[in-house]
Amino acid sequence: MPRQVTRLDRVVIRFAGDSGDGMQLTGTRFTQESAIFGNDLMTLPNFPAEIRAPQGTIPGVSSFQIHFADHDILTAGDAPDVLVAMNPAALRANLADLPKGATIIVDTHDFTGRNLAKAGYDADPLESGELDAYQLHRVDLTGMTVEAVKEFGLSRKDAARAKNMFALGLLCWLYGRPTESTIGFLERQFARAPEIRDANILAFTTGWNFGETTETFAVRYEIAPAAQAPGTYRNITGNLALAHGLVAAAVRSGLPLFLGSYPITPASDILHELSRQKVFGVTTFQAEDEIAGIGAALGAAYAGSLGVTTTSGPGVSLKSEAIGLAVALELPLLVVNVQRGGPSTGLPTKTEQADLLQAMYGRNGEAPIPIVAPSTPSDCFAAALEAARIAITWRTPVMLLSDGYLANGSEPWRIPDLDDLPAIDPGFATTPNHTSKASSNGADEFWPYQRDPETLARPWAVPGTAGLEHRIGGLEKGDGHGNISYDPANHDLMVHTRAAKVARIADTLPPLTVDDPSAARGDGGARVLVVGWGSTYGPIAAGVRLVRGAGHDVAQVHLRHLNPLPRDLGEILKRYDRVLVPEMNLGQLSLLLRARYLVDAVGLNVVRGLPLTSGEIADAIEELL
């Protein structure tokens, strides 16, 4: 049946269903197809903390949102244009996020009395008229799936489980997605269970055909590919990009990678991924707790590996003492914090960026460490490399602050050329570096705390190096020789030196890129600067676009280095009358900027466990204009 085709520049779809309904898989496949099709896209998964919360209930709802477009986009979308709801709870849990006029596709099969009650509905919303403001499509997805796959003789339950593929097929038809990659995926995924494989493929194609043959949907949509820079792309989540970045850092530094970790949401997938990369000489050690995880990583670093520990906020709390030891030992170490909702256990599966000040100050004593934060899922790759460069060059623990949104969200990533990746030189010490009074012919002693005059880094002398035997520890060390020292003046010197070492990293940071089209005009232009860090990059940039779209000038700068702050930041801040700092916390970067630059930064602080919306950022900017 020939159908009207409407061209759109962007669409936001949210797939929502019960935790057991396979919504994450459905969303991921739709994403993959859109990526291959050439749209720009970003995704936002959202799932409960329970493994399988009670079926049919609001807490059990799992969803996956994808925003795809014919141009470059920055967020997973403030609000869905289309909601696919597999049961009453999924409808109810997500309806409030939909703008009036949005499209809703529901699987009618589950809209029974019991299920409606479980979701807290007194009346059937499909009948009550409460969805009148939306474009509602009632489809018996389950029923049609079961019917379609009955030839395979699966149990009714198994048959019904393919309904997500039916839904996927339908949406693929609706938005003109290529289907080969999903069929290929299903073939690989269920290679060992042919009936399930075939049932899923059939459900998928039946869903597509249902769109094509029935008249339920009067319009198909077309979203043209986005212009992308030449290169090879893949869609990638933040956790995967981060794991790849760590492997790349190991390869580029020539070091073996040692991960000491304890599972915790939303960081565990980095452990899972790295445990599969043994071919790179990667050792993963699942420790008895977070302290042992970082302890082993520090031991491996001492012994000459790229030591890494991955965790989330509660784990960082436990690791604080050991991070302090790494500061005292001045050994390279990566501490990856995939931030989640806090305080305490908080909201394990939700995103937040409230661990910045913990990264800065969460240790006893003056224990400064560099902090690096990626801004988008794919940027986790480069940020991991940068964190490794700093850790190895300055012999210091580095905190890499990702978050739950980056971790599980995805976007297309242009795969870099290996030659474009930085080379990192571990520069191990191999010979004595100090001349004793007794010596007449050159250096004859090894001083573990004799510093590089430029970086202030100390030598990294690994066990097995003859003549470099030395002892280090957590007690204060004498400048240079590194033996225990209780001398007051030495302590003051060492405290200041450790701070100076971290501060000097700023010497190697590139100038910040200020996004301010008005600056070129030379007529003053933007008066408001929006400063962000981490995963708020997308929403802020999108918010800035909205404001510019409304005809106003506004500037944006995004920080990847939180400690030390870039040298040119102070001067940039001074150029603008007002500074807005949107954060998913109560104002942590704000605090640092206010204290350091005495600038009256204004915060937009919303702590919902979800990314900020571009709309609320635009509003906040407009209030300052």
């Binding site: 390869v251 043994k278 420790a287 031991g299 000459g304 590996s305 290996l418 003859a466 002892r471 280090i472």
Partner: protein, 328 residues
């Protein structure tokens, strides 16, 4: 769960550590740092014993690492001219695990106290034992917290009056040997600071063991717990001490058996560990079982061996994996 027989015959604890061709003496193992224990502290005797024993191993000095936690005994690494780390309280077994797993060519030692190992560090200790990481762990048991000036420890006897228990401790103590056996340890021994010969022979066996070897050393703290082991010293102690040897007939309650430290089932060894009079010293258990670090390296090595590509090529492969598309 009985310990399984080892998956493949294990070598010595030190077989992958390079040996030295130079003759060595105790002096080579003595660092330039002044020893700072109290006069009469049992730690001196152990230090001397270790310094004189290390040359016997014939290893390259730079391939030996001592890791300690915090406590009087944990100052140990400063006094040895090897690589060393004086880390944080209780965490030495974890740090040493990272060293041992990442470097087969190192001989890794852990020095710890009864507080460090059994109080704050108890969990790391039992996990290192069950994993059987190739470490030699010296637990200096003076039954007191020395460095913090005399609080009772997890091995202090019930009723002990200390700074923090003015009317007597009410904690039932751990028996470190029983605890280790319950934690799947493959090598467990006990010795005493003052008996240099016994100490050295136990150290030799512990160092030779491939896997985690726990050596409990009864150590006198003359300042805060003086004389705790006095009845186990000197000639008069003969009937208070049971010197375990393989094949020795031992009697506990109404049962007599031949002591076999290599028995896979630790039950008889455990029964011996419950003896209090006489106090058994020597090796309770010494069995072979695959070590965590050997197996971890084996998994990595076989993955690496299975690929003929260079590391760079593999990286390119990794980054380009999955569904990709190309824009020209």
């Amino acid at each position: 769960m009985t310990a399984e027989p080892s998956l493949h015959p294990l070598g010595s604890g030190l077989e992958l550590v390079p040996t030295s061709h130079e003759p060595q003496s105790g002096k080579d193992y003595t660092s330039d740092q002044e020893v700072r224990w109290c006069p009469g502290c049992g730690d001196y005797a152990v230090l001397k014993a270790v310094q004189s024993f290390l040359p016997d191993l014939g290893l390259r000095r730079e391939n030996i690492v001592f890791v300690s936690g915090i406590g009087c005994s944990s100052r140990f690494p400063y006094y040895l001219d090897t690589f060393g780390m004086h880390s944080i309280h209780g965490r030495a077994p974890a740090i040493a695990t990272g060293i041992a797993v990442s470097r087969p060519d190192l001989s890794v030692w852990v020095v710890t106290g009864d507080g460090d190992a059994l109080s704050i560090g108890g969990n790391h200790l039992i996990h290192a034992l069950r994993r059987n990481v190739n470490l030699t762990i010296l637990l200096f048991n003076n039954r007191i917290y020395g460095l913090t000036k005399g609080q009772y420890s997890p091995t202090s006897e019930a009723g002990k009056v200390t700074k923090s228990t003015p009317v007597g401790s009410i904690d039932h103590p751990f028996n470190p040997v029983s605890l280790a056996l319950g934690a799947e340890a493959t090598f467990v021994a006990r010795t005493i600071d003052s008996d240099r010969r016994h100490l050295t022979s136990v150290l030799a066996a512990a160092a030779a063991h491939r896997g985690a070897a726990l050596v409990e050393i009864y150590q006198n703290c003359p300042i805060f717990n003086d004389g705790a082991f006095d009845d186990l010293r000197g000639p008069a102690s003969d009937d208070r001490i049971l010197r375990l040897e393989p094949g020795l007939d031992v009697t506990v309650g109404d049962r007599t058996w031949r002591h076999d430290p290599t028995a896979v089932d630790p039950s008889d060894q455990f029964a011996l560990s419950r003896l209090e009079d006489p106090v058994p010293v020597g090796i309770f258990r010494q069995v072979e079982r695959a070590t965590y670090d050997d197996e971890a390296r084996e998994q990595v090595a076989s993955a690496v061996a299975a690929s003929t590509a260079t590391r760079e090529e593999r990286l390119a492969g990794l980054l380009n994996a999955g569904d990709t598309w190309t824009v020209v």
